[in-house]
């Protein structure tokens, strides 16, 4: 087993599936000889050739659109969008075509496409490089939306995404790309795409998060433990379809829930989870649900981005608030 950071785990998963399944092709900007701007595809073109690791011209609409055509004709394209802010030109093809090709043709054609993109702020990147668009995709019927928060989950979830027969939006938190390493067995074992991962058990409060914020949330849980507050930490990982059962079960025990995400608050995916709690978990809630999120502002440029991101302090404060409501 190798010690890998998240981007290396992605690279291993891609290589594994390329070697296993000749239908897998990668396409995107600078993914070939350059190995991707974040190095996700480093070495892959050398190994699998330029016909399967395709450096495209600069056009995200066509990257998504041609990938759909490839997928419909039996390939398993994994398309890379270089930075999060450039994923919007793919929306039309993702929503109007990828998500519904199977439905429209009653299963005659399908779209086993993976759309990979970095997401999130925190690396002092230029404008339009710090977006968290997961809620936009999670609203679209027919898609799967996955966000890993550790190297091993990145590896297992990406394998699952590539093998899935339907379109998967796979968002990778850039801030985690190189933040830490973990033992990852390159054993081709996929993780399930329809469950949350409970990272830590606790009885006082349930912390629900995904992506880079799982890191902050775990740190907050450490701090809380020192204060004698035992937090359960759930990494949602697959936002769509949502495994609400795990969250309801946990909140059923703790009676309290704090949801943490980096995207803007209004209409963020935290709202969906909180809404489900208000519908199906109401009688178990001992205190108001709390959302700790990015503000409803444009993600600011580098000098203010850490003022935008939910901090450990904000998470801890929210937990304290739910405990007051006892």
């Amino acid at each position: 087993m190798a010690e890998l950071n998240l981007i290396e785990a992605i690279n291993h998963a891609l290589a594994h599936e390329l070697a296993r399944d000749p239908a897998v092709v990668l396409l995107g900007e600078d993914i070939g000889i350059n190995g991707g701007v974040f190095r996700a595809t480093a070495g892959l073109q050398q190994r699998f050739g330029a016909a399967r690791i395709v450096d495209t011209p600069l056009a995200e609409t066509a990257i998504a659109g041609t990938a759909i055509g490839m997928a419909a004709m039996g390939l398993k394209p994994v398309a890379e969008i270089q930075f999060s802010g450039f994923i919007y030109p793919t929306f039309d093809h993702v929503i109007n075509h990828a998500s519904r090709l199977r439905h429209r043709t009653r299963g005659r054609l399908s779209c086993p496409l993976v759309l990979r993109s970095p997401c999130g702020a925190g690396i002092h990147a230029p404008e339009h490089h710090s977006e968290s668009p997961e809620a936009l995709f999670a609203h679209v019927p027919g898609l799967r939306v996955v966000i890993p928060s550790s190297p091993s989950r990145a590896y297992g979830l990406l394998l699952a995404a590539i093998r899935d027969p339907d379109p998967v939006i796979f968002l990778e938190p850039t801030r985690l790309y190189r933040l830490f390493k973990q033992e990852v067995a390159d054993d081709g074992e996929a993780l399930p795409l329809d469950v949350c991962f409970t990272l830590r058990s606790g009885s006082d409060v349930t912390l629900v998060s995904w992506g880079a914020m799982v890191h902050e949330t775990q740190t907050a849980a450490d701090t809380l433990a020192q204060q004698g507050i035992m937090a359960e930490v759930i990494d949602v990982a697959t936002l769509k379809p949502l495994d609400m059962g795990t969250i309801l079960e946990s909140v059923g025990r703790t009676g309290r829930c704090v949801i943490v995400h980096e995207a803007a608050r209004t209409g963020g995916f935290g709202a969906e989870i909180a809404a489900n709690l208000a519908e199906e978990g109401l009688y178990t809630l001992l205190a108001p649900v709390q959302r700790v999120t990015g503000y409803d502002t444009v993600v600011p440029l580098a000098r203010l981005e850490y003022q935008y991101l939910p901090s450990v302090e904000r998470i801890v404060a929210a937990v304290h608030k739910t405990l007051e409501g006892a």
């Binding site: 055509g69 419909a72 027969p165």
Partner: protein
């Protein structure tokens, strides 16, 4: 100042509006056995269109887009395709779809508001009709790439309208296809209108064929009402694509003789007299006249053909109207290959609560 690039756009016509040859004809056009099936297909398309509009008018079909006056384009191109090739159509391409083996009943189901109309029993790999303008050109380029990668001798053939050539997808897809030298043929049905927007307001380019130059591929314009010119150009382009020569763009110049769709009233924005003039150029009579000149067609055959077409269309309409509506559960079928557990409750609710309204045709 040095000239570093020279380009030209050609226009081809073989049969003039009266069906007279204007230049030596390609071989296939000398053989009535080759042409008669094309003629039959055009007449069938027109019969189908007439019937579909009638169904819509009587509330038995949804909005429908007729191909009136543009039949030579779909028929001429589809006839140049092999069964192994793949059609990537827009919503006005049933002429081509029917040639490919999509049934009229399927087409009616689709326009009648039933997804099963896109589950073609015949050409299993052909794409469904594409409504979001020009997006299909990207899909076609991707399909062509799949064929190329697997070294299959197949070609992706894509249709769009004059309006569609304004959309980014069209240019991006041509550019991708050209860089890949993929087996892709893109046919612009320039019927000179995009709903109410005339060709002159759609682009300042003097031809749409010249948009090929932006991608560094070949583009040509043909008389889209002359099926010989259309079929000839399509054969060349498909042959070229199949043999590794990369994509081509064909602009087929025609005219939309009908309304944009049954939801449109073209008299609001265009002069009926101008439309009338364009009837002089329409493709069906043109080919018939030529066949008559070849002594390959006569009123009896015409009468018989019309009868056959009507029968076929009527049979399709019967099949269509007899198709029971889909059940509410169909909304959840094929949403994913396997419906996620998270959606089981919703499907159950849909089955339980299904209201009585709706479900009718159109």
């Amino acid at each position: 100042m040095t000239i570093i690039g020279r380009f030209q756009i050609d226009y081809t016509r073989f049969l003039d509006p009266r069906g007279e040859a204007t230049q030596p004809l390609p071989d296939f056009a000398l053989d009535p056995e080759k042409l008669i099936p094309l003629y039959r297909a055009m007449v069938l398309t027109r019969t189908f269109d007439t019937k579909a509009i009638a169904l819509q008018r009587t509330g038995k079909l949804g909005t429908f887009a007729s191909a009136l006056g543009q039949e030579a384009i779909g028929v001429g191109v589809a006839a140049a395709m092999g069964a192994e090739d793949v059609l990537v159509p827009s919503y006005r391409d049933h002429a081509a779809q029917l040639m490919r083996g999509v049934t009229m009943a399927e087409s009616l189901l689709y326009w009648g508001g039933d997804e099963r109309g896109s589950d073609f029993a015949g050409p299993r790999d052909d794409f469904p009709i594409c409504v979001p303008i020009a997006t299909q050109v990207c899909h076609a380029a991707g399909a062509a790439y799949a064929f190329q990668l697997r070294q299959e001798a197949r070609v992706a053939v894509c249709f769009l309208g004059d309006g569609g050539t304004s959309k980014g997808d069209f240019y991006e897809a041509l550019n991708f296809g050209a860089v890949w030298k993929a087996p892709l043929v893109v046919v612009v049905n320039n019927n000179q209108w995009a709903i109410s927007v005339p060709r002159s307001m759609q682009s300042a380019a003097q031809t749409l064929a010249q948009k090929a130059i932006a991608a560094g591929i070949e583009g040509c314009q043909v008389d889209g009402n002359d099926i010989v010119a259309v079929h000839h150009a399509a054969r060349q382009a498909i042959e070229k694509a199949r043999s590794g020569g990369g994509p081509s763009l064909i602009e087929a110049l025609s005219y939309r003789l009908g309304d944009h769709t049954t939801a449109d009233d073209a008299s609001r924005y265009r002069d009926p007299e101008v439309v009338q003039e364009h009837w002089t150029f329409e493709p069906v009579v043109r080919l018939r006249n030529y066949l008559v000149q070849l002594n390959a067609w006569d009123p009896q055959r015409e009468e018989q053909l019309v009868r056959e077409c009507n029968e076929a269309v009527n049979a399709a309409v019967e099949t269509y109207l007899a198709t029971p509506p889909p059940t509410p559960g169909a909304m959840f079928d094929h949403l994913y290959r396997t419906l996620p557990a998270a959606l089981h409750e919703q499907r159950d609710m849909a089955l339980r609560l299904a209201p009585q309204q709706g479900g009718g045709h159109g």
